[in-house]
Amino acid sequence: MHFVVCIKQVPDSAQIRVHPVTNTIMRQGVPTIINPHDLAALEEALKLCDTYGGEVTVVTMGPKMAEDALRKALTFGAHRAVLLTDRHFAGSDTLATSFALAQAIAEIGDTFATPDVVFTGKQTIDGDTAQVGPGIAKRLDLQQLTYVAKILSIDAASREITVERRAEGGSQILRTRLPCLVTMLDGADAIRRGRLDDALRAARTKVVKWSAADAGIAEPANCGLRGSPTVVKRVFAPTSREQKARQIDTTNKPLCEIAGDLIAAIFADQPALKHDLGFLGSTGQQGAPDVDRES
């Protein structure tokens, strides 16, 4: 079996700061990490390798420094790494990204082995769109399995895969044919610490570096900014509320009195809550719900 895992190097969003005047992201000193959701996908691919045998190829599109993310993935146990890097890719939106990655995955299939399952994480932590996975599936005509919580089985003989998919209001058990694309939910298992021989092999493994042309992209107009139907027109900081929170006085008061003051303030601000929370007796005034909220 050949499992291809798409990963992305992202800034560690917990450490991102915005410049207060220019509204630009201050990247200096912000460490990059592998998108955490992609690690769930990588771990699942490695587990499938343990069970069914085969290889894991990790692929990323990004600047040259994204090689670090691929190297890291190799130490976890991936067998091969492909870096798709070209100035033509700069400014890609999700449609252009899925085009470039789909081309690269097709090329991986031609050069090494045809993928049986292509994985992505459920979304990235910097873009949060969850659109690149479905885009790749559509472009490569792979069966699309999003929000997969668990891969239940793969039948190599009949070329079928059965998964549990998180759906609205429940879980679906889906069976489809290979090859397919799986966007993986974060599982119970954290990414493994690679074994010593993984680390040794990673050190010997060269990251394959492809330009757009190497990945079989003849027409760079489909890539990057030019291949992106969407345009970011304006970037701005969220407006802050003018008023800060009204503080309940806590000086020299027992906690129960503070709690009483808080409850009084809550009901003063939102009288309807008295009714909603069941604090209104039959003599009380019925607070009308302010919106028709169908739950």
């Binding site: 929000y147 409850i263 169908e294």
Partner: protein, 370 residues
């Protein structure tokens, strides 16, 4: 689409400043469409919220609003969906009914929606950013090679009629407004509870346009073997809870989550947490509140021991009343909360629960005595 890989999320790029002349084949694309999501026969509330937004966009553009209903024939589901579409502002509805659409599967739904778009040419197509909506939107946008902006928090049309879709980026630290310039339809998804629920329209009516699904079961590779409903299980539905109590790192230890649950139970609310607690494994991800978790719009939100990072703020700003409890008087949460208590959540939560309980008991006693 969005900022995926868009490294330079900075002031207007060269292309955005370019002329927005729409290629000829897209110039007759008109009207605003909302995909009405059916979840086992029930209309997902996010679709109603989108009808409210869609109505505003259609009015600004002077065009029609259409509800798009895709589902199995016979049952009440599609009929309810059409009734809701009209009740919340649609002028017309498109309906694709087929037994192949009984459960959500990507292939037939993508085929149904893509064919509808190609035949009827909407300029704007909105979907809920649910697991279904995101799965479908990504496929449809890729098939049509058009732009898709995920998780919008604001939708507007600018002076030349383009959709201006605003979404948070970098975990909510910044907002960006995204346009789809040279393709149609302009697609966008919006997460549940981000937009307000619109008012019902009186005496709603409109025309229903039926389309056939040109597909056979043998052409669909994916089969649904089973569906396990969450039903009454304790899976969270925070997006639509009226009262939410949430905890953050200030709770200190995993056993203190009980303090949160006690308060939630007392006041009939649901409970959740900020992202760090999910990362610690203290609570499942479906209880996470914030940009990457649930967006909530409760009448009352109580945040205990949550510092209030931007990514959390984005998810709770729609609450009618935000109460923050934090030991640090300078915590960012006090910048967007309405009421604040500078106190240790671990000791204050039990006091709050106790006072609420006493008042409820007293109220019940009075009721009983009358």
């Amino acid at each position: 689409m969005s900022t995926e890989n868009r490294e330079a999320c900075s002031p207007p790029s060269g292309r955005a400043a370019m002329e927005k002349e729409l290629p000829k084949q897209f110039q007759d694309y008109r009207n605003v469409w909302v995909f009405i999501e059916l979840e086992h026969g029930q209309v997902h509330p996010v679709s109603i919220e989108l009808l409210g937004e869609g109505r505003k966009l259609a009015d600004k553009l002077g065009v029609h609003l259409a509800g798009v209903v895709i589902g199995p024939p016979g049952g009440q589901g599609t009929a309810n969906a059409i009734a809701d579409a009209f009740a919340y502002g649609a002028d017309l509805s498109y309906l694709v009914e087929s037994p192949l659409l009984a459960h959500y599967r990507n292939e037939p739904f993508t085929k149904a929606l893509t064919d509808l778009v190609l035949a009827n040419k909407p300029e704007i197509l909105l979907l809920g950013a649910t697991t279904l909506g995101r799965d479908l939107a990504g496929s449809v946008a890729t098939t049509l090679k058009t732009g898709l902006t995920a998780d919008c928090t604001e939708l507007n049309v600018d002076s030349d009629g383009s959709l201006a879709a605003t979404r948070p980026t970098f975990g909510g630290s910044l907002l960006c407004t995204i346009y789809t310039l040279k393709c149609r339809p302009q697609m966008a998804t919006v997460r549940p509870s981000v937009m307000a629920m619109p008012q019902r329209v009186n005496n709603p009516t409109g025309s229903i346009i039926r389309h056939e699904l040109k597909m056979r079961e043998e052409e669909i590779a994916t089969k649904v073997l089973a569906f396990f409903s969450d039903g009454d299980s304790n899976t969270a539905n925070l997006a639509y809870a009226d009262v939410v109590v949430a905890g953050g790192l200030g709770l200190g230890a995993v056993q203190n989550l009980q303090l949160l649950k006690d308060l939630a139970r007392t006041i009939g609310g649901d409970f959740g947490c900020s992202r760090p607690l999910v990362q610690k494994g203290w609570m499942p991800v479906d209880r996470q509140i914030g940009q990457t978790g649930n967006t909530i719009r409760p009448k009352l939100y109580i945040a205990a021991g949550i510092s209030g990072a931007v990514q959390h703020r984005v998810g709770v700003e729609g609450a009618d009343l935000i109460v923050a409890i934090n030991t640090d008087p300078n915590a960012p949460i006090f910048d967007f909360a309405h009421l604040g208590v500078v106190a240790d959540a671990i000791s204050f939560l039990p006091a709050l629960t106790e006072v609420f309980t006493k008042r409820l008991e007293r109220r019940n006693f009075e009721k009983f005595a009358q």
